[in-house]
Symmetry: C2
Subunit: 342 residues, 2 copies
Amino acid sequence: MVQIPKTPASSAPRSVPTSADVARLAGVSRATVSYVLNNSSAVRISEPTRRRVHEAARELGYVPHAAARSLRAGHSRTVLMPAPGFPVGPLYSRFIGELQWALGRLDYTVVQYGTAGPQGDDAARAWAELRPVAVLVPGSGLGPQGVEILKRSGARAVVTLGPEPVDGAHALLMDHEAVGHRAGRHLYDRGRRRIGVVLPAEPGLEVFSAPRLEGVRRAVRGTDATVTELHLAYEEHSAARLAARWRSLGLDAVFAYNDEYAMLLMRALQDEGVAVPAETAVIGADDLMLGRLLRPRLSTVHLELPSGRELAALVDRAVHDPGARPERHEVLGATVVHRESS
Amino acid sequence: MVQIPKTPASSAPRSVPTSADVARLAGVSRATVSYVLNNSSAVRISEPTRRRVHEAARELGYVPHAAARSLRAGHSRTVLMPAPGFPVGPLYSRFIGELQWALGRLDYTVVQYGTAGPQGDDAARAWAELRPVAVLVPGSGLGPQGVEILKRSGARAVVTLGPEPVDGAHALLMDHEAVGHRAGRHLYDRGRRRIGVVLPAEPGLEVFSAPRLEGVRRAVRGTDATVTELHLAYEEHSAARLAARWRSLGLDAVFAYNDEYAMLLMRALQDEGVAVPAETAVIGADDLMLGRLLRPRLSTVHLELPSGRELAALVDRAVHDPGARPERHEVLGATVVHRESS
DNA sequence: TTGAAAGCGATACCAA
DNA sequence: TTGGTATCGCTTTCAA
């Protein structure tokens, strides 16, 4: 074995230092290095030795190898979640941020796994390769099979955040059907009977839009009100086209999927001379700042996501007691905020 | 060693299957399992054996252990990037998505590391523990020290995306100073002389807002125009307060940081009876859909982020040739889109 | 065509 | 107080 000389200048591509290198430089064994660097309380190491080890580690720029460590330990504290595959709003961003912070406090490392390529069970297998201690899956896309794969690979907790519970996994149920229901109910109560529901043309949003539509349907079931699906892309001319044939649709209200689509559509309607809310009532969802700034002020369905702290606590509980019966929580608070557009 | 009996029902908490288990069940050696499952072309395995191995792997629900694999291999194909610590706009979301997809095509695994706790060099050390083959760092917050730590730990490429290059790392320079400069220039050219610049009160945005402000300053340096800093939180009443004292500020133009703050402020100004653009010109940045829908239509600075494909290619190049001189690319295309508000 | 065994880096048990 | 060493799961060289 060649001893690589320590170069004073830092341009030589040295090989990655290991704990053995630290041990060599400090003149102690690898065991001692491990004890010192991990502050092992089981063993008492003399102060001079500690110093020498720390010194050597610093000098070499030693950083422990997570893979080796968790291989040896037989477990990691990695919480994996697939990265969202579509632009997320401020609500969700904040939620993720909070969650990461809260899990960080509990000494977990959160890792968002790049969403590309594998789908369904293959995705679950890819995640399982990392042997995360817990997996958080937003949206649907994970089936009972996937849950089984993850658990078999050592995941002590699998939590889904989505419209439906999945066998074997804890579920934070985000009932988007209820969002639609609230919106539909509100419009119906305001005397509207011919209700349009916007379905975004952008892919990946069906998970949310389909249940929202269904919620509106349920809200007016058994009444004389009708529900009409409206496909709308998030583009000005798509909205203009829809607005152009608006009067032929004979609608007196529209649930616009969310505030952004609502703004897009409302603008197009106004440009077309359709009076809001007189001729057509408009309601969005998400309660973005945006809506408050529009004229008329946009009515919306305010959504309350679970706090990151709560979810972090759930994860921690589940990790400690993997055998427990899967928890099921209804977490999407949906309340109508009535402003001027409806 | 206790042989765990195969249970027909799947509720028993079996231990995680390893390649040795697969080998045992298939009646072959672990080497053979590895050959088969990795489609090793160096060795030819008989068809019946292959089948038996695949069968056994499927039956046990075997998933390889990434840590063990990369430990043995001495490298991984993980590209790490810290997860953004603040709500990101659609621009950045799309960029990340593209990037993940493009790197996925090149067989890298993208992992967003949860931003909590460690800062500065400690963060770099935490990332280094995962031994990523490449690290992508948006924003500032990584210094030359951090780069050195990462490289010493085997990262073959470190790429920063931010306002300033960092020694030793490739840099995708996002020149926010230029954004401010374009905006300032535009306002000046439109005859405005008393220019306000919005600085968001929200933390974490200084990285962008400071250089944008500086850009405006530079644009009017040596002229008779003045620049006034305006602190604004992303809340209605903050905007209302600012609007209430607007006339006392004597400004005839404002660069509102971005389109969202611009919308917020413009609405407040209009509510206060300040005519836009007659009395005060307003320009935002980011060219969101939003701005097109406002009345007057919002002038903005359109930003062009690098395509994910380009960045993926840069990463791949850098990984293949770690010794190469750090590349430096100006990637933030900034062009004024003049609409009606200025 | 298949198997035995070394070794990646870190940890923790048992001795000394 | 410190060191030697087996071990985690996997890949790969060398032999058989």
